[in-house]
Symmetry: C2
Subunit: 388 residues, 2 copies
């Protein structure tokens, strides 16, 4: 299932309960790499470390831990991040990026990590499951997506002695919008590919894709201290067109972003907010997706068009109310600035679905879609009932 020349592993070293908490991702050969990192000013040392690591354009692998974010841990935290990378590099060659997720403000228990990394290294293989488990915190489900790159030129593969699949592939893994008790969430995403991307401006391509996918996934607006997306492509399955690779990467990242929103804390459903028209439909969509009033209405299966239209109205983006039309779960609730005579019971029944789509039309123009989830008692329970 995973691309050629990559191996994944996981181990449990005691950073969190009962599950793998150290993950290793290794390429047999150096892979071209690029990343996108949290914009939070308060960020873990692994964020700065991995940003520098990918600036060389190449990575051999990534070492990940869950259960401790190694954030707000000062100079000791920086040393621990560097030691994690050095330990992985001593086993698998370099350079390695580091990603941590979990509680912030606690020193990394390095005596555990020093055992966990070699153990994960000894278990490297092609089954992604131990790694997928190792990156989770309060996530309820493992999140992955795979695709093949369209239009791959297999004949031109650089290393034909390797048994090729039907074409260069991408395999993406993410952890999402759970928060580790008692502190921050982290979104981590890793996409590996055996495509040869050596002719591309990979950092720019990854940035474009992240803007269209992970950056359109909103759970509570609380940007984490540890967010990181890393893309590694080792070229073993040969060249692809840049457009095809970008399309495939977007497909994988879009699928992961939807999974993250669906698994948001306390979420009972995925909510897709699609806005068409105005000069900035993305800002309008984001404002709706983060509105506590809209999100609680979605939790309550309440066809509350007023909250959606009013959230749009406070987005500081110009539109004419008389032009506004709104569909929720396929029902037209608001048309040309006035509510329709819809049947609330029918719409409410449709809102019980696992996925709900909100379509807001503000006029002609571009379209933007973001993913979010509903907001119910579960969010409060997860985030209020744990004590530091």
């Amino acid at each position: 299932m995973i691309p050629l020349g990559f191996r994944l592993g996981g181990a449990r070293c005691g950073l969190k309960n009962k599950k793998n908490d150290i993950g290793l991702l290794v390429s047999d050969v150096p892979a071209r790499a690029a990343g996108v990192f949290t914009t939070n000013l308060v960020r873990a040392s692994c964020v700065d470390f991995s940003r520098r690591a990918v600036q060389t354009g190449s990575l051999r692998g990534v070492v990940v831990n869950s259960g401790n974010a190694n954030c707000c841990t000062g100079a000791a935290g920086e040393r621990d991040t560097a030691e994690m990378a050095a330990l992985a590099e001593s086993l698998g060659g370099g350079p390695f990026a580091v990603a941590s997720t979990g509680v912030i403000g606690h020193p990394m228990p390095m005596e555990k990590v020093r055992k966990g990394i070699p153990e994960a290294f000894g278990r490297l293989g092609t089954d992604p499951k131990p790694f997928l488990e190792a990156i989770l915190t309060t996530d309820l489900v493992e999140k992955w997506a795979a695709t093949a790159v369209g239009g791959a030129d297999l004949a031109a593969a650089r290393q034909p002695e390797v048994t090729l699949g039907p074409g260069p592939r991408l395999f993406g893994m993410a952890k999402g919008s759970g928060m580790i008790a008692p502190n921050m969430a982290t979104m981590l995403g890793f996409v590996i590919s055996d495509a040869d991307v050596s002719g591309f401006d990979l950092p720019a391509l990854v940035r474009r894709v992240a803007d269209r996918t992970f950056n359109r996934c909103l759970v509570d607006g609380d940007t984490s201290t540890n967010d990181m997306l890393l893309v590694l492509a080792n070229g073993l399955a040969g060249p692809v067109s840049e457009a095809a690779f970008e399309g495939a990467l977007a497909e994988v990242c879009d699928a992961l972003a939807r999974q993250i929103a669906r698994d948001g804390e306390g979420a009972t459903k995925l909510v897709e907010v699609c806005v068409r028209g105005s000069a900035d439909p993305l800002t309008v969509a984001r404002t709706i997706a983060l509105s506590p009033l809209v999100k609680t209405a979605m939790f309550g299966c309440d066809p509350n068009w007023g909250r959606i239209v009013a959230a749009a109205g406070r987005a500081e983006v110009h539109f004419c109310v008389a032009d506004v039309t709104l569909d929720v779960a396929g029902f037209r609730l608001f048309e040309h600035g006035a509510p329709t005579d819809f049947d609330p019971k029918k719409v409410s029944a449709a809102l019980k679905s696992d996925t709900v789509r909100i379509d807001l039309f503000l006029g002609p123009g571009p379209e933007a879609t973001v993913y979010t989830c509903d907001f119910g008692y579960g969010y409060v329970r997860i985030n209020a009932e744990y004590h530091t």
Copy 2:
């Protein structure tokens, strides 16, 4: 208690259950007036109507209803707002402003309103209670604040035949951050005074005070369609200095803003967020105050410094993490970029207080304070369990 020459009244005409839903505020003589209005693009017709009304610089009174926001109601809604003003003016002289709060998208039941306005007019008096009741929606408590203007020159009062109190006074009334089932919240504020403000730029003064008070009160970030603050000063108690009037108005509006935050939906406490330092402490304070992670931690009495520091970090305002110091409820949790060795149980006990203060120091510089509330099951219950 209320300033000279003002009368207040309320009546119940059936727009909401069991409580007064029509309020009248009348000055015996034309009062200088200014207002601040919602910035939401989707706004009720009363907002546009009252903005035009105060542009004349003078009002005779305000007619208010709760139970129906008269928003997204098209041309009929505009006619209904104008008729409400005309009816009040036929009884009390003009001009009148109109403020509505309640469910949006429903036509105003004018047959009820046409009975309610004369009834409220017949009951005008100096007891503010019937008016205070008439402006509430899901608010749990009536909100008012009163003060005298310091440094008033009583001898110069323009109408010495009126029995003067100890000096010009201000009396403020507000309704807050409850949402009327099933739709939007509105913040309404009315401040009346018998001070003579004829030499002042009242609109600019009111704008300055609103920016420092009501605009620093955040419950869920969902700017309403009907928000309105109106200030009326009829001059009957004589002149005051502009600085003294502005100080007294700020005192009243600050007290009302705190009451609104404390009575936020589902709130168990008022949370004051005070940020000092950085180029824009207000933006940092607002980001912390709206963070669902911070608000759920406050609900859970969890001394979760990580969420507060991380929320500051995503505010897009520059500061150095190594300079950051954080006090919560008077306990130092974070100092110079690292957590302290605080006792979580003691801090948690202090967080059970009715009012909690968060003090974040980012360095030398200006300070900004905002008011918010915690975020618990009550918010979800109020906003998810009602069906449109």
